[in-house]
C-alpha cells in the first residue's frame, strides 16, 4: 500500500487544521509555527508522493462498478499538485504577516489550511466523480475565507460566491451524469472515457451536455457571463484573493475544464463541432471583456480580479483549440499566470496593509517609497503584459502558434484577440506602474505618506522569491514546454 501516501496530503491538512482552532493559542508565534508545520508537512508529503510514488491509482471506496472514489498521480495531477504546493507555502508565509492586521486569525488559518488539502484532492482525483466531490468541498471551505471580514460587503460577496458556485456545480453535475451513463470506466484517460458504441448516434446530445458542463465548471474559471463573483470576492483578505482567486479556486475550474475536455469527453468528439466554437467564442469574449473592465476599474484588487478573468480565458482559449500543443500552451500560461498574478496581489496587499490605499490614483509616487514592492510589481507586471523575455510572453506565443497550427478560423480571430488584450493589459498595468514612479508634480507635497515604506521581511520575502521564480521560469520556456508535452502524454 505504498500508494496510500497519496491520501496523506489530502487528509493531513483537513484534520491538522482542527489543531489550529482547537487549541487556544496564547501567543501568535506558536499558532504560526503550528500552521506552518502542517502546511510544510503537507507540501513535502505531496511533493514526495508526486515524485517518488508510482502512477497506479488508489481506490478508496467503490460506489458502483463504474463509480469510485479514487486518486491517481498522472502527469497533469503532478503538474497542478506541484504548483499548488509551492504557491500555498509561499502564501502561508505572506499570510502570517498580513493577517496580523486582521481579526479572527485562527479561523482564517483553519479554513486556509483545510482548502490546501481540498485543492490537492482536486489535483489528485482519478475520475470526474472524485473531482466533483472535492470541487464542491472547495466551495464550502473557501466560503468562510471570502466572508472573512463579516461585514455587509463580505456577506454580500459570500452570498454571490455561494450562489454562483452552487449553480455552476449543478450545471457541471449534468456532465458528470452523462459521463457516468455513457462510459464503462470513468477513470481519466487522455482521449476520453466515453464508450464509442454508446456514443454513436448521440453525438450532438453529448456535445450539448459538454457545453452545459463546461459552463458549469466555467463558473469557477469566471467565464462570461458567470464572472460576477470574482471581482466581488476581492473584498476578502489579500492572501485569499491572491491564492484562491488567482491560483487555487479559479485554476481548479480551469483544471476541471481540462479534465472534462481532454480526459472525459475527448477532443475527437468535440473538435470542429459547435461545442468547440461556442467554447472558444465564450473564452475570446471573456478575454476582451475582462481586459476592458480591468482598464475601467480603478480599485486595484478588483482591477486585477478582472485581469485574472481575462487571463483564465487565455487558458480556456488554449484548451479550446483542442490540440495537444494548445493544451501545453495553456498549461504554460496557467503556471506563468499563477506565479505572476499571485505576486501582483501580494504587492497590492502589501500596499493596502502599509498605506491603506486601494485605488490606482492613490498609488501615485509610491514607487520610490516602497522600492521592493513596486520593483516586484513592475517585474510581475511585465510578465503579465507579456513583454519579452518575461514570463507571459512565451505562453502567449505558444498559444498563438498552437492556434495558427489548428487551422480553425475562429482561432485565427483568437490571435487578434490576444493582441488586443495584450494592448489593454499593457494599458492597465503600466498606468499603475508609471503613476507610481512618475507622479504628477505637486501630488506628493500635500499628502501624508506615513507608513509608505516596504513592509517587514516576512512579507517581502515571499514576494521577492516569487518574482525571482517568475523571471527564472521566463527564461526557460522551451524546457517547460518540453516537460509539459511529456506530462500530457504520460
Amino acid at each position: 500500500m505504498a500508494s496510500m501516501i497519496i491520501l496523506l496530503p489530502i487528509i493531513l491538512p483537513f484534520f491538522g487544521s482542527f489543531i489550529i482552532i482547537a487549541k487556544p493559542f496564547r501567543d501568535r508565534l506558536k499558532m504560526r509555527i503550528c500552521t506552518m508545520s502542517i502546511v510544510l508537512a503537507t507540501m513535502f508529503i505531496a511533493l514526495y508522493a508526486i515524485y517518488f510514488s508510482g502512477v497506479e491509482s488508489l481506490t478508496v471506496y467503490r460506489f458502483a462498478s463504474n463509480m469510485s472514489l479514487a486518486f491517481r498521480l498522472d502527469g497533469l495531477a503532478k503538474f497542478y499538485g506541484t504548483m499548488v504546493s509551492i504557491l500555498w507555502t509561499a502564501t502561508t508565509i505572506y499570510a502570517f504577516e498580513y493577517m496580523s492586521h486582521e481579526k479572527y486569525e485562527q479561523r482564517f488559518f483553519l479554513f486556509f489550511t483545510m482548502s490546501f488539502g481540498v485543492v490537492l484532492g482536486i489535483a489528485f482525483s482519478a475520475n470526474l466523480l472524485t473531482l466533483y466531490l472535492f470541487y464542491e468541498f472547495l466551495t464550502l471551505t473557501t466560503l468562510p475565507l471570502v466572508m472573512h471580514e463579516m461585514d455587509k460587503k463580505a456577506y454580500h460577496a459570500g452570498k454571490i460566491y455561494l450562489t454562483h458556485m452552487m449553480g455552476g456545480a449543478s450545471l457541471a453535475f449534468v456532465g458528470l451524469v452523462i459521463i457516468i451513463c455513457y462510459s464503462n470506466n470513468i477513470d481519466f484517460k487522455l482521449g476520453g472515457v466515453l464508450n464509442p458504441a454508446m456514443v454513436a448516434g448521440n453525438e450532438n446530445i453529448l456535445r450539448f451536455t459538454f457545453l452545459v458542463a463546461f459552463f458549469g465548471f466555467g463558473v469557477k474559471a469566471a467565464i462570461f457571463p458567470f464572472y460576477y463573483w470574482l471581482p466581488t470576492a476581492s473584498v476578502a483578505p489579500t492572501p485569499v484573493t491572491a491564492l484562491l482567486h488567482a491560483v487555487a479556486v479559479v485554476k481548479s475550474g480551469v483544471f476541471a475544464i481540462i479534465r472534462l475536455t481532454y480526459f472525459c469527453y475527448g477532443i475527437d468528439l468535440l473538435r470542429g463541432s459547435f461545442a468547440q466554437n461556442i467554447m472558444m467564442g465564450a473564452a475570446l469574449f471573456t478575454i476582451v471583456f475582462g481586459s476592458t473592465m480591468a482598464l475601467k476599474t480603478s480599485h486595484i484588487k478588483r482591477r486585477f480580479a478582472y485581469s485574472t478573468m481575462s487571463n483564465l480565458s487565455y487558458i480556456i482559449f488554449a484548451v479550446s483549440i483542442m490540440t495537444l500543443n494548445g493544451l501545453a500552451g495553456g498549461l504554460l500560461h496557467m503556471l506563468y499566470h499563477a506565479v505572476v498574478k499571485i505576486t501582483i496581489f501580494f504587492c497590492a496587499g502589501a500596499i493596502l496593509v502599509q498605506t491603506h490605499r486601494e485605488y490606482v490614483k492613490q498609488m501615485e509616487g509610491l514607487g520610490t517609497k516602497m522600492p521592493i514592492i513596486f520593483g516586484c510589481f513592475t517585474v510581475a507586471g511585465f510578465g503579465l503584459v507579456g513583454v519579452p523575455p518575461f514570463a507571459g510572453f512565451h505562453s502567449k506565443w505558444n498559444i498563438a502558434i498552437a492556434a495558427l497550427q489548428s487551422a480553425n478560423p475562429l482561432a485565427y480571430a483568437g490571435i487578434m484577440v490576444l493582441i488586443i488584450s495584450a494592448l489593454l493589459t499593457a494599458l492597465y498595468v503600466f498606468t499603475v506602474v508609471i503613476s507610481a514612479y512618475f507622479p504628477k508634480t505637486g501630488v506628493l507635497e500635500n499628502r501624508d505618506d506615513t507608513g509608505a515604506h516596504d513592509p517587514p521581511k516576512l512579507m517581502t520575502l515571499p514576494i521577492v522569491a516569487l518574482t525571482v521564480l517568475s523571471v527564472v521560469l521566463g527564461f526557460m520556456p522551451a524546457q517547460l514546454m518540453q516537460l509539459l508535452r511529456f506530462i500530457i502524454s504520460s
Binding site: 456577506y155 449553480g167 449543478s170 451524469v177 466581488t232 493582441i419 508634480t441
Partner: protein, 675 residues
C-alpha cells in the same frame, strides 16, 4: 570567441546593476565606472566587428536566441558603441546638477545592452525580444526630467512602442505560420521561390510596423519630435542617433534579406521614405526649439535612409550605389546628429533654455562650439568635403540610375523625377533649418540679452575632446571617402546582397557636385525668402523674433491618434461588451423575475394553505390571500444591495442571477433523467 557576442549584450546590463550599486555609495566612482564600461564595450565591438562569428542558444527563451557579428551588424554595433561612448562621457558633465542620476545610468546602460542585442540578432524573434527591452528601458530616459511635457511625450512614446511591438509580434506569428522560421536569411530563401507573395507582404507589413514606428517612419513618427527633445541631451543623442537605427535595422533586414530585390516592397518603402523625408524637413523648418529642430531633422534623415532602402529593392541586383548610400547615411547621420545634439546639450547645460529667441546670440563669443556646430551643419546638409555629402550623393545617384534604367526600358520616369526633386528639395530645407539654428545661436545679436553670457569656461575638457573627436570624424569621412566610407560600405555589402560598384565613384566630379549645388541654391532661397520673411515677425519693441507658425490642426497625434486610442477604441470595445453583457443581463433578469414570481406564488400559496389549515385546526384567524407579511431583510436570500460601483453594474441584486442557472441546471438534469 563567439561568447563575446552575448557578452556585448549582457555586460552592459550587468554593468547597469553594478553602476546602480556603486552609485548608492559614490557618485564619482559610478561615473568613472560607466565611462570605463562604455569604453570596454566600444573596444569589444570594434574587435568583434571584423570577425564573422555566430552564437546561438537554442533553448534560451523559447525559440532560442541567435547572434552573429561581422558585416553590417559589425558596423552598426561599432556605431552603437561609439554613440554610447561619446554621450556617456558627456553625461558626466551634463547631468552634474540633475537628480536621479543613478536611475539614468542604470537605464542608459541597460538600453545599450538591449540595442546591441537588436543589432547582433540574426532572427526576428531575438530582435523583437531586445527591441522590446530597449523600448521600455529608453522610456525612462525620455521621462527623466519628470516634467509634465516629458511625461506627456513619454506616454506617446510608450504607447507607440507597445502598439508597434504588438503589431510586429502579430506579423511574426503570421510569418512563422507561413514559413516555419523567423531567421532572416532563411526567410529570404523561402520567399524568393514563392509565386504568390501577398500573404508574405501582409506579414512583412505587420512586422515592419513596430520597426517603422521606432525609426520614425510616417505615419508613426508622431512620438519622435516630442520625445527626443524632452530627454536629457545625451539621451536625446542616443534616441536620435542610434535607437532610431534599431528600427531602421529591422526594415533593412526585411527589405534586403526577407524581400530581397523585391520591387513592390522597395517601392512601398520608397514612398514611405519620401514622405518622411519631406515631412521631417518641413516641420524642422517651422520649429523654433533647438532640440526639436534637430529631432525633426533626424526624422527627415531617416527618410533619406528609407529612400535608399527602397531604391535597393527597386534596383535589384544593381543596387551597389543605393546600398552604399544607405549604410553610409546611417553612419553619417549617427555621427553628425550626435555632434549636433551634444552641442545643443552644451547650450542647455549652461542656460537651461532651448527656445531660439531665448538662446539667441549665446554662442557668439564661443568659437570652438561655433566651429563644431558648423561642421555638423556642413555634414548634415551634404556640402562637399564633409561626411553627409558622400552618402547623399550615392543616394541621389541611385535614383538617377533607376531613372536611366526606366528610360532604357521605355517606361515613364515621372514618379522618379518627382522623387529626385523632392530629394533635392529636402536637402535644401536641411540647409535652411540648419542655417536658421546657426544664425540664431552663433551670429545674431539677442535683442533681449540676459545675464547668461558667461565669459568663462562653459564646458570641461572631456566634453571638448568628445566634440573634437566627432567633428574630426565627420571631416575625415568627407575628405577621404575612398579610404574610410568606401571600406565601411564594402563590409556591409554581403548583408544587403550587393556587390561593389563596377568602378569607384568619383564623388567630386562635376555631375555629382551639381546635386550639392542645386541643394545649396534651394536652401538659400528657402532661407532668405521663407525663413527670414514668413517665420519671423516684428514684436512690440520693433525687434525681429522667431515665431511658431506651424498650424496646430496639423498635429495628427493630438487630433487623430490620441482620441482614437483613448476615447474611440475603448468606447467601441466597451459599447460592444456592454451591449452584449447588457443583453445577457436583461435576459437573466427577465428569467429571474419570472422565477421569483413563480417561487413567490408557490410559497404564498403554501403559506396560505398552511394558514388555512391552522385556521381549521388551531382556531387561528382566517387569513387573506396575498396579504403583505413582514419578511425581514433576507427573505429572498440576498436582498442586500451593495454600494454600486460606477464601473461595474453587475447582475441585478436579488439572488444575484445565480440561482437562475442553478435552477436551469437542475431542470436540465431532471429533464435528461426523465427522457
Amino acid at each position: 570567441m563567439a561568447l563575446l557576442l552575448p557578452f556585448l549584450v549582457i555586460f552592459p546590463m550587468a554593468g547597469a546593476v553594478v553602476s546602480y550599486i556603486i552609485g548608492r555609495r559614490n557618485k564619482n566612482a559610478r561615473n568613472m565606472f560607466a565611462n570605463a564600461l562604455v569604453t570596454v564595450e566600444f573596444a569589444v565591438a570594434i574587435f568583434m566587428s571584423s570577425k564573422s562569428v555566430e552564437f546561438s542558444s537554442a533553448s534560451f527563451c523559447g525559440l532560442g536566441i541567435n547572434f552573429a557579428d561581422g558585416g553590417l551588424r559589425g558596423i552598426l554595433s561599432v556605431l552603437c558603441g561609439f554613440i554610447w561612448f561619446t554621450s556617456t562621457l558627456f553625461s558626466t558633465e551634463y547631468l552634474k546638477s540633475y537628480r536621479n542620476r543613478n536611475r539614468y545610468y542604470f537605464f542608459m546602460l541597460s538600453t545599450l545592452g538591449a540595442t546591441m542585442g537588436v543589432f547582433l540578432s540574426t532572427d526576428f524573434y531575438t530582435a523583437l525580444i531586445f527591441f522590446e527591452i530597449m523600448s521600455f528601458t529608453s522610456y525612462v530616459l525620455v521621462v527623466h526630467d519628470e516634467t509634465e511635457e516629458a511625461l506627456y511625450a513619454g506616454a506617446t512614446y510608450l504607447a507607440v512602442a507597445v502598439i508597434g511591438g504588438l503589431v510586429t509580434l502579430l506579423g511574426m506569428f503570421f510569418m512563422y505560420h507561413l514559413t516555419g522560421t523567423l531567421d532572416m536569411r532563411e526567410l529570404g530563401e523561402i520567399i524568393k521561390n514563392v509565386s504568390d507573395k501577398k500573404p508574405y507582404y501582409i506579414a512583412g507589413l505587420l512586422i515592419s510596423f513596430g520597426f517603422g514606428a521606432k525609426a520614425g517612419a510616417f505615419p508613426l513618427h508622431i512620438w519622435l519630435p516630442q520625445a527626443h527633445p524632452v530627454a536629457p541631451a545625451p539621451a536625446s543623442a542616443l534616441l536620435s542617433c542610434i535607437l532610431t537605427k534599431a528600427g531602421v535595422f529591422g526594415i533593412l533586414a526585411l527589405s534586403c534579406q526577407v524581400f530581397m530585390y523585391d520591387a513592390n516592397w522597395g517601392f512601398f518603402v520608397l514612398i514611405i521614405g519620401t514622405i518622411t523625408m519631406v515631412l521631417g524637413a518641413v516641420i524642422a523648418v517651422f520649429s523654433i526649439n533647438l532640440k526639436r529642430t534637430l529631432a525633426c531633422s533626424s526624422l527627415s534623415q531617416i527618410g533619406f535612409i528609407l529612400v535608399g532602402i527602397g531604391m535597393q529593392g527597386l534596383l535589384g541586383e544593381e543596387n551597389a550605389l543605393a546600398s552604399g548610400g544607405t549604410i553610409l547615411h546611417i553612419i553619417n547621420h549617427g555621427v553628425i546628429k550626435c555632434t549636433l545634439f551634444l552641442c545643443a546639450g552644451v547650450v542647455y547645460m549652461n542656460i537651461h533654455k532651448l527656445n531660439l529667441n531665448e538662446i539667441r546670440g549665446w554662442g557668439k563669443d564661443k568659437p570652438f562650439l561655433k566651429i563644431v556646430f558648423l561642421i555638423g551643419l556642413l555634414g548634415i546638409v551634404g556640402i562637399p568635403l564633409w561626411g553627409g555629402y558622400i552618402s547623399k550623393t550615392l543616394l541621389h545617384e541611385s535614383i538617377v540610375e533607376y531613372s536611366h534604367l526606366l528610360v532604357n526600358a521605355g517606361q515613364s520616369t515621372l514618379i522618379f523625377d518627382i522623387i529626385e526633386w523632392l530629394f533635392l528639395f529636402s536637402g535644401g530645407l536641411t540647409l535652411a533649418y540648419m542655417t536658421k539654428l546657426y544664425m540664431a545661436l552663433f551670429v545674431e545679436e539677442n535683442p533681449y540679452p540676459e545675464k547668461h553670457s558667461s565669459k568663462g569656461k562653459y564646458m570641461n575638457h572631456t566634453t571638448t575632446a568628445v566634440l573634437l573627436l566627432c567633428a574630426t570624424i565627420i571631416t575625415v569621412f568627407g575628405i577621404l571617402p575612398h579610404n574610410t566610407l568606401d571600406v565601411i560600405a564594402h563590409c556591409a555589402r554581403p548583408f544587403m546582397n550587393s556587390t561593389d560598384p563596377a568602378h569607384a565613384v568619383h564623388y567630386f566630379s562635376f555631375a555629382n557636385l551639381k546635386g550639392a549645388l542645386i541643394t545649396v541654391v534651394i536652401g538659400a532661397a528657402v532661407f532668405f525668402l521663407f525663413v527670414r520673411k514668413a517665420l519671423m515677425a516684428t514684436d512690440e519693441n520693433g525687434n525681429r523674433v522667431y515665431i511658431d507658425a506651424w498650424p496646430s490642426w496639423l498635429d495628427i497625434e493630438k487630433n487623430i491618434y490620441r482620441p482614437v486610442l483613448v476615447k474611440i477604441l475603448p468606447a467601441v470595445l466597451g459599447c460592444a461588451a456592454k451591449v452584449f453583457a447588457g443583453f445577457l443581463e436583461d435576459l437573466m433578469f427577465v428569467i429571474l423575475v419570472v422565477f421569483v414570481l413563480v417561487v413567490r406564488f408557490f410559497t404564498e400559496s403554501f403559506e396560505y394553505i398552511a394558514e388555512v389549515g391552522m385556521y381549521i385546526f388551531l382556531n387561528k384567524e382566517m387569513p387573506k390571500y396575498g396579504e403583505k407579511r413582514e419578511y425581514g431583510d433576507d427573505v429572498y436570500f440576498s436582498t442586500f444591495t451593495p454600494e454600486l460601483h460606477d464601473e461595474e453594474k453587475g447582475f441585478r441584486e436579488n439572488l444575484s442571477g445565480a440561482l437562475v442557472f442553478f435552477g436551469v441546471g437542475m431542470v436540465a438534469a431532471l429533464l435528461y433523467i426523465i427522457f
